[in-house]
């Protein structure tokens, strides 16, 4: 069985190639695949009819308890036979119907994939496997419905079908998982025995609703029936196969399959009966709104599906009639509906229209198709001597046994419409004139309908042929052994009377049809499809609204959201705890620092009121300077130096850029909301800090660094030893960032000068500023800078080399060196400054990082980890890899910053050029 399923999938995958190879004959060859499978399943008939259930299992995803497990009993076997049997005819039929279509190879592929999935679905034992197959059928049918994808209607119908069935699928998945959790197993065969446990579980009702949702959407039950007629946009073979015989019955299959586990409760029966009946009547009613053959058949399918669901709901309430009626009606419907769809397609193919009001006299030109239609219509009308009659009879018996009278009455009404439809279908074959040049299609087009309809007749005449399998089916649905004798002639009883009534009503309706139809078409009742469309439109509107609200494009809005979220979440956490932590021990208050802090805050607040950009930069600079001084007063010399240098460099960079921007724009004023958000955030940070300070600080890390810095790190500047040894990896990342920033600035500015010189609309305005890139062309500065340059380079090397022991180090040293070059560039121009450096600065970034990286490798030789410090004594001087690493830092920072400054200068010079 597992093999059969895999063969089905693999066989499907060969279809496009086979088609390319064999051309139009491919259909006949490909039909061998379903046919072979049908034969295989037929060979299993004796076992199954004998009461055996076959089970094969293959571990698939054992970590989730998912098995590729298959289970074959009467119910699955009937479905498997239908799928493969009808599938074979459909494949043949497709070859004729879509002859010469450019996408036929693809079509074969998808329809065979569909068949394989459907087969997997009805054979699956594991709920996940079942669900996988379930979704695969939705998916393949999506591709099939959208086969004529250049039409908008097809695309819409495909998406609609996908959405409805996949949406239901999700409900189903949830329901199935709940069942598995409740029953403690993912195997349906095991769940079936636990009906009692499941029904008494508190989650029974939600699980049931979810499963029903899945089944109802798939099987087009009211109110989800609307997608099915729309799906008639698909080519006819698809409609015939998916929408009559197989896929839509997947929901019915599932309900029947789970009946022994879920059935037996009040809810189950009433839900299924009510919705089944509603569907039956909906399908019947909507029949009046169309004259398109395929649509008529589609509504009839809806009605039949309703009847099947109704029957399943009856199963627990009757002894065996309902189960047996299910078995009989299911097969009957598959045979006649498959045949009718194919016949309708053949008519359309040959006559060019499917409108029953336009057709006439077809029997003369299409006799074989005509025979098939007549036989199938008999079954549809529920007339003897065909299987449809038997199915409907047993159904009536079951309904009379357990359903309320009003339900029976409504069912009769629904079936009467079926009888009317049968008349509607048959009449065009006999009345009127055939259209010009219409003739019987090729065998591929009439073979299927004829055989299926013939089969209906055969089984109607000799129901005993089907009886053993029907018993097995009914047993599976009922959950206990059922033995019933199917008879064509049950004798006179109430059910027969109802049948008669049905037919009479049907004939009556046939005559009323034109009037009823006119009424229904002119005054269409808003159906659930309108609901679906409104939902989708509403969804799209909601989506647009949400997006407009959230994704406004304004940076400030994004930031406000972020801060609001932040303040909200952190505030929530603080409120939630409800306690305010206050530090108990703090260090002595230092007046100098307090003065400094007050000034910083004051300066910052003053800056908020300024209307000049650079002025603001300058004022905010005092915050930076204040922090630097504070660092100094708190005994952090390296920090203080770095802070000063970095603040200055930042200010210089901003000035350098502002210099090149012509239209800076006004400094906009702040808004109250901003102030609220900002103060909220600031307040929270203060609260968090107070909380943090209320905790004692564990100093194990710093004590370790202080202890080991000299004896094992060979440096007296503990901060620097942390940077280049204890936490050198941080520094590595840090200089990578610096290098990247240099690369980034270079790339940003370079791209412009290379690529968009012509199409930059702003060039005209920028070039109006003269001399932007000019130097401070003064003799005094030029003379001083010559001297200062050498001095600064020397100082920078000095700072680099002694950094391990005293304030300094690679970063500070590099900044000083950059300062030297910047000074020289200020005084003498970019070109002159460039001449003082023999390599390109960006190359230095690479070299510096490479040196830093290489300094991490010597430890490999002593089998110590990455970056472990190795120290050597060369001529009495202690040299270690951390020192070499610091040289890498120096070069990287130097190269990156210089590259950025040079690129900026160059961009200024380029702007200046006319």
């Amino acid at each position: 069985m597992v093999v059969a399923s895999i063969v089905a999938f693999l066989g499907a995958l060969t279809a496009p190639w086979l088609y390319r190879w064999l051309g139009s004959a491919a259909g006949w060859v490909l039909a061998l695949l379903p046919l072979g499978l049908a034969v295989y399943f037929a060979s299993l008939l004796p076992d199954v009819v004998g009461g055996q259930t076959l089970r094969h299992s293959l571990a698939w995803v054992p970590s989730l308890g998912v098995n590729f497990s298959f289970y074959l009993d009467g119910l699955s076997l009937l479905f498997a036979l239908l799928i493969t049997g009808i599938g074979a005819f459909i494949v043949i039929y497709s070859g004729g119907y879509l002859k010469g279509h450019p996408d036929l190879g693809r079509f074969y592929l998808i329809i065979l994939l569909f068949m394989a999935s459907m087969l997997g679905l009805v054979l699956a034992d594991n709920i996940v496997t079942l669900f996988v197959m379930w979704e695969l059928t939705s998916l393949t049918s999506y591709l099939l419905i959208g086969f004529s994808h250049s039409e908008f209607k097809s695309r819409r119908a495909a998406t609609q079908a996908l959405l409805v069935t996949a949406g239901g699928g999700l409900a189903l998945l949830t329901g199935l998982i709940l069942l598995a959790l409740m029953g403690g197993s993912m195997e349906i065969s095991e769940l079936l025995g636990q009906g009692q446990l499941l029904r008494e579980h508190p989650l029974y009702l939600p699980a049931l609703i979810l499963v029903l949702l899945g089944a109802f959407t798939k099987s087009a039950q009211f109110p989800f029936h609307f997608w099915l007629p729309n799906a008639m946009e698909a080519p006819t073979p698809v409609s015939a196969y998916l929408h009559s015989a197989t896929m839509v019955k997947a929901g019915v299959y599932l309900l029947a399959r789970l009946q022994p586990a879920l059935g037996g409760s009040e809810v189950w029966s009433s839900a299924l009966m009510v919705f089944g009946l509603a569907t039956l009547l909906t399908g019947a009613t909507l029949t009046f709104r169309h004259t398109d053959l395929k649509r008529l058949l589609a509504y009839s399918t809806v009605a039949a599906l309703g009847a099947l669901v109704f029957l399943i709901g009856l199963v627990p309430l009757t002894d065996y009639y309902a189960a047996m009626g299910f078995a009989a009606f299911l097969l009957a419907h598959s045979l006649y509906k498959g045949g009718l769809f194919m016949a309708a397609g053949a008519v359309d193919h040959e006559a060019g229209t499917r409108d029953i009001t336009q057709l006439g006299g077809l029997f003369r030109v299409m006799p074989l198709t005509g025979v098939a239609v007549v036989l199938a219509a008999l079954s549809l009308a529920g007339l003897p001597p065909v299987l449809g009659f038997i199915g409907k009879e047993v159904l009536y018996v079951a309904a009379l046994q357990a359903a309320p009278a009003w339900m029976v009455g409504l069912a009769v009404l629904g079936f009467a419409v079926g009888a009317m439809l049968a008349l509607l279908l048959v009449v065009p074959f006999f009345r009127g004139q055939p259209p010009q040049e219409v003739h019987e299609g090729p065998p591929s087009l009439w073979l299927g309908p004829l055989v299926l309809a013939g089969l209906g007749l055969l089984l109607g005449l000799f129901p005993g042929l089907y009886n053993p399998l029907a018993d097995a089916v009914a047993s599976a649905v009922k959950g206990q052994a059922v033995a019933y004798h199917l008879k064509l002639w049950p004798g006179f009883n109430l059910a027969l009377l109802l049948s008669l009534l049905t037919v009479l009503l049907g004939v009556g309706l046939y005559f009323l049809y034109p009037r009823l139809q006119a009424w229904m078409v002119t005054d269409p009742v808003p159906g659930p499809e309108n609901g679906y469309n409104a939902l989708l439109r509403g969804l799209m509107r909601l989506a647009a609204g949400v997006t407009g609200l959230l994704q406004s494009g304004s940076l400030r809005a994004y930031l406000i959201w972020t801060f609001a979220g932040l303040v909200g979440l952190v505030g929530l956490a603080l409120l939630h705890s409800g306690t305010l932590l206050w530090p108990s021990n703090a260090s002595e208050v230092n007046p100098a620092q307090v003065v400094l802090m007050a000034m910083m805050l004051l300066g910052a607040i003053i800056a908020l009121g300024l209307r000049s950009h650079l002025g603001m930069v300058v004022v905010v600079g005092i915050v930076g300077a204040g922090v630097a001084i504070l660092f100094m007063l708190q005994n952090a010399p390296d920090l203080s130096i770095t802070q000063f240098l970095v603040e200055t460099l930042t200010a210089i960079l901003i000035a350098l850029v502002l210099l090149q921007i012509t239209t800076i724009g006004q400094v906009p004023a702040g808004r109250p909301l901003d102030a609220v958000v900002a103060m909220g955030f600031g307040g929270l940070m203060t609260l968090l800090m107070l909380g943090m300070l209320s905790q004692p600080l564990e100093l194990h890390l710093s004590n370790f660094f202080t202890d080991k810095s000299l004896p094992e790190g060979f440096g007296r500047n503990i901060v620097n030893v942390i940077l280049v040894d204890f936490r050198a990896l941080d520094t590595f990342g840090e200089i990578s960032v610096v290098g990247l920033a240099g690369l980034g600035v270079y790339a940003l500015l370079r791209w412009r000068t290379r690529n968009d010189k012509e199409d930059d609309p702003l060039r005209g305005t920028t070039s109006s500023v003269h001399l932007i890139g000019a130097t401070l062309n003064t003799l005094i500065l030029q003379t001083a800078s010559r001297f200062l340059f050498t001095l600064l380079i020397l100082l920078s090397l000095f700072l680099l080399l002694r950094g391990h022991n005293e304030p300094g180090g690679g970063f500070i040293g590099a900044l000083v060196a950059v300062g030297a070059y910047a000074l020289y560039a200020l005084a003498h121009g970019l070109a002159a400054s460039r001449k003082l450096l023999p390599v390109r600065p960006l190359r230095l970034v690479g070299v510096g990082l490479l040196i830093a990286l290489l300094s991490a490798f010597p430890s490999l030789s002593s089998q110590r980890p990455f970056m472990a410090g190795e120290w050597f004594t060369v001529f009495g001087v202690k040299i270690g890899t951390p020192v070499i690493f610091d040289i890498g830092v120096y070069l990287t920072v130097f190269g990156a910053l210089l590259a950025a400054i040079f690129a900026l200068e160059e961009s200024a010079l380029n702007q200046e050029a006319p």
Binding site: Y142, S154, V546, G691, E698, L699, F726, G739, W751
Partner: protein, 497 residues
């Protein structure tokens, strides 16, 4: 072994530096390819080692934890690094075929490799401050990559991406400082042993600060706006890399700290995560539906699906975390593939705007297959890889009786399907627009070279779907390690406190 853990850092770093130092473009291309291959090989070896020997750690610079910086490879880290290697290789191949010489000249290869350095560093480091540093490395390289080329969309998106990232950096930094000030520790394992002494309220507030800082990077509601504003702008090879890797680093960090550090009050913290997950899921997918351009749709989908990863974290059961990990790994592969496909579509028809696209189903059936498979996987349709992630998460959610998040997760799956369905209907099914564009292959690589890496990713994803057990098992192990941090702490600190 100790060097093996740092190889995922060293390899891209070396590659990047070689590309910086050697100016010849052909050499850089060669470095880039060899580097990506080597990275993948190293990552796989690492995963194998971790599988055999359990969590492994190396003390960088040979300073015993918690004093130095520790690199730790557990299953989560190793898996993330492996998938990073895969995505990197695919994108490297695509870039070779795309042959964007202008970007190459401005350091494309160095930048992407630096990005990988940052990503892998973030995945492997066992130190909170070091994590900050790697975040910055990957951020800066991504900034540059983002704006490289500097057209309007890139710059306007890049500015937002940059601005929001700055904010997240500052928040992260402050959060690290506060946590240090409250515990005295930076090493994650060390922190894990010390956070219990911090008062619950304070710790929860700090946890929220980390949630926001990482949430900004992971692009969750209400912090995701920068992503759709910027990701659609750069060329496919760059946005694919971003989409695959960057947000996942944020997700990884969230998973790490909310399993290792902040498990003191899950009723509060993880409920918040669940809410965020749900809102991200729903609002992300809704916004995706309001887009008419493929890469913008994908960007919002990317956002939305981060919600799934958080969902597992919020539920915090073994199964749920398994789902999160699996989802993240799977998502990295498929979203990269989808962005690359969007790039191909752009090359084919000169636009990504849906109404101007069409006819690809007929003209490029293989592209349709390549699109459909990851798209369905994204929507969680079985038997594709995304389904297993969703199945795991949904099961976990039902087990934990978190019904509304399960409902949101399922609904989002459906809406994702709708969104992908719209793309398929418009770009593939609909008739092509009257205007015809010409395929613009790279100078060195044609159609085949461009599709090869995509096909690789898609095949991998299909493979994961059909044979989900190995990856699920690994994710399960990762989840177990996360939920019981004692082994992690033991390995890093050498003692179990």
């Amino acid at each position: 072994m100790s060097w093996l853990i740092v190889l995922p850092l060293i390899i891209p770093l070396t590659t990047a530096l070689l590309c910086l130092v050697v100016p010849y473009r052909r050499a850089q291309r060669y470095f880039s390819l060899v580097g990506a291959l080597a990275l993948l090989a190293a990552a796989l070896t690492l995963l194998n080692q971790v599988g055999q020997r359990g969590i492994s750690a190396v003390q960088i610079s040979d300073w015993q934890a918690p004093f130095g910086i520790t690199f730790v490879a557990d299953h989560l880290s190793a898996l993330m690094v492996v998938v990073t290697g895969i995505v990197a290789l695919a994108v490297a191949l695509y870039a070779l075929a795309a042959n964007d010489t202008a970007r190459e000249a401005l350091g494309y290869y160095a930048l992407t490799n630096f990005l990988l350095v940052g990503v892998n560093g973030a995945f492997l480091t066992g130190d909170l401050f070091n994590l900050y540093v790697w975040f910055e490395v990957l951020l800066l390289s991504s900034f540059v990559l983002m704006v490289l080329g500097g057209d309007k969309a890139q710059l306007s998106g890049g500015v937002k991406y940059f601005a929001v990232s700055l904010l997240s950096s500052v928040l992260f930094l402050s959060a690290v400082g506060l946590l240090y000030g409250a515990t005295g520790a930076l090493n994650l394992a060390d922190l894990a042993t010390r956070v219990q002494e911090v008062p619950t309220g304070l710790l929860s507030a700090l946890a929220m600060l980390f949630l926001v800082a990482f949430g900004l990077k992971a692009a969750v509601f209400p912090f995701f706006f920068w992503l759709p504003a910027s990701y659609p702008a750069p060329p496919a090879m760059i946005s694919a890399l971003f989409a695959g890797l960057l947000t996942k680093v944020g997700v990884y960090a969230l998973i790490r700290v909310f399993t290792l550090l902040f498990t003191h009050e899950t009723a509060f913290t993880h409920s918040v995560i669940l809410w965020i997950a749900g809102l991200t899921l729903l609002l992300g997918v809704l916004s995706a539906l309001a887009q008419g351009e493929i890469r913008r749709i994908l960007s919002f989908q990317l956002v939305s699906h981060i919600g799934y990863m958080l969902m597992g974290l919020g539920i915090l059961t073994p199964l749920a975390l398994t789902g999160s990990v699996f989802y993240a790994l799977n998502h990295m592969i498929i979203i990269s593939a989808l962005f690359l496909i969007a790039g191909l579509i752009y090359r084919l028809q000169g636009t990504g705007v849906l109404v101007s696209l069409g006819g690809l189903y007929r003209s490029h059936p293989w592209l349709a297959v390549l699109f459909l498979l990851p798209a369905l996987s994204l929507a969680g349709i079985p038997p594709f890889s995304g389904f297993w992630a969703k199945l795991t998460l949904v099961t976990a959610g039902l087990q934990a009786e978190q019904y509304w998040i399960v409902a949101a997760a399922l609904l989002v799956g459906l809406l994702t399907l709708l969104s992908m369905g719209i793309v398929f209907a418009e770009a593939f099914w609909k008739n092509p627009p009257p205007k015809s564009y010409r395929f613009t292959p790279g100078a060195t690589g044609g159609w085949f070279a461009l599709t090869l890496p995509i096909a690789g990713l898609v095949l991998l994803s299909v493979g994961i779907g059909l044979w989900a057990d190995p990856l699920l098992r690994l994710s399960q192990t990762a989840a177990q390690e996360l939920l019981d941090p004692s082994q992690y702490i033991q390995v890093v600190l050498g003692v179990s406190r």
